[in-house]
């Protein structure tokens, strides 16, 4: 079983700061981390490999050279090897161009060692789109199953896998044919504290870095900024009601005022 996990380096949005004057990201304030959902994706691959008692886990990322850090982090969690595609040609890609570039890299990885399962995080915390995973699946013409919360019964002879997919009202039990692509929720597993030998392995590991020239049959017009149909028109600070106001009067009066303030939000309330 060959599992490829797609991972992304993202700024830690929990503590990110936006420069209020320029509406740009204060990079110094935002350390780069492995997208938390992707960490769960790697962990799930490790779990599956353990379950089967064999297999190989590759990780794939796209980004600047320093994004090798997230590949090393994945090795710490238990991946076997990692590839980074890094080239100016990929820069400025939206989700469509990203899924194109990654699918090209996956084709190359698959050529050497056919891929059975691709796992992605549900979405990246910097973009929150969740579009790249399904996009890759479409390009490789394999079925995607998004929002997966459990992987079980990997049947190698039948080439099927049993999945639980989270939906609003509960979950679906899905049988999918392998190869397929999964995107996983955080609740699928908990990240284990990596063992020391993995740490040492990761510290030594040199990820494979591919430029656009290392990929085959690439249509360059589909890459990077050129290949991205969407552009950011403008950035602005979200319109947020001004804080710090106190309601006046006695308890009854305050409650009444609050009810009035909430009157235009009534569709948010639904008794259970």
């Amino acid at each position: 079983m060959h599992i490829v996990v797609c991972v992304k380096q993202v700024p830690d949005t929990k503590i990110i700061k936006i420069n209020p004057k320029t509406n740009t990201l204060d990079r110094r304030s935002a350390p780069a981390i492995l997208n938390p959902y992707d960490a769960h994706a790697v962990q799930e691959a490790v779990k599956i490999k353990k379950m089967l008692g064999k297999g190989i886990i590759s990780v794939l990322s796209m980004g600047p050279p320093q994004a090798t850090a997230v590949i090393k982090k994945s090795i710490e969690i238990g991946a076997d090897r990692g590839f980074l595609i890094s080239d100016r040609a990929f820069a400025g890609a939206d989700t469509l161009a990203t899924s194109y570039a990654l699918s090209k890299a996956l084709e190359r990885i698959s050529k050497e060692n056919p891929v059975d399962l691709i796992i992605c995080g549900k979405h990246a915390i910097d973009g929150d789109t969740g579009q790249v995973g399904p996009g890759i699946a479409r390009r490789l013409d394999i079925p995607p199953v998004t929002n997966v919360i459990e992987v079980s019964e990997l049947n190698e002879s039948e080439s099927t896998v049993l999945l639980k997919r989270k939906i609003t009202s509960g979950y679906e039990l899905i049988q999918a044919q392998v190869p397929c692509l999964l995107t996983v929720e955080k609740e699928i597993n908990s990240i284990e504290y990596s063992p020391m030998p993995n740490m040492i392995k990761a510290a030594r590991y040199e990820p494979v870095i591919w430029s656009v020239n290392d990929l085959e049959d690439v249509d360059r017009t589909q890459l990077g900024l050129k290949g991205s149909p969407t552009i950011v028109g403008k950035m602005f600070t979200p319109p947020k009601p001004e804080g710090g106001k106190r309601l006046e009067g006695n308890a009854d009066e305050q409650v009444k005022q609050l009810m009035e303030l909430l009157s235009d939000k009534k569709e948010l309330f639904a008794p259970q």
Partner: protein, 94 residues
């Protein structure tokens, strides 16, 4: 913005808090009965310690890991460890 309160200062920092505290008050009774000053609630640079009337509340998530409480507690009543690897405070600048 210049910071005025300790809350505002603490806002500036990135913490990767573990779910388990690395600071333990060994005996809350000592704080209650023997330590009228509760000096840790004063000198701790992150206001980690707050006296709640019966027990010492430990807001370890905002700890700077400086070690002052371990040394400054007059009753050596604080068990002080490092947070689990990679957790705790993460300075980005100085």
């Amino acid at each position: 913005m210049s910071t005025k309160t300790i809350e505002e200062k603490q806002y500036l920092i990135r913490f990767k808090a573990d779910t388990k505290s690395h600071l333990t008050v060994l005996d809350h009774d000592i704080c209650m009965t023997k330590c009228p000053d509760k000096i840790c609630t004063i000198f701790c640079p992150a206001e980690v310690y707050k006296w709640e009337g019966l027990r010492m509340q430990v807001g370890y998530e905002g700890c700077h890991e400086c070690g002052s409480c371990r040394i400054g507690c007059p009753y050596q009543n604080i068990k002080w460890e490092y947070p689990k690897g990679g957790h705790g405070i993460v300075f980005r600048l100085a």
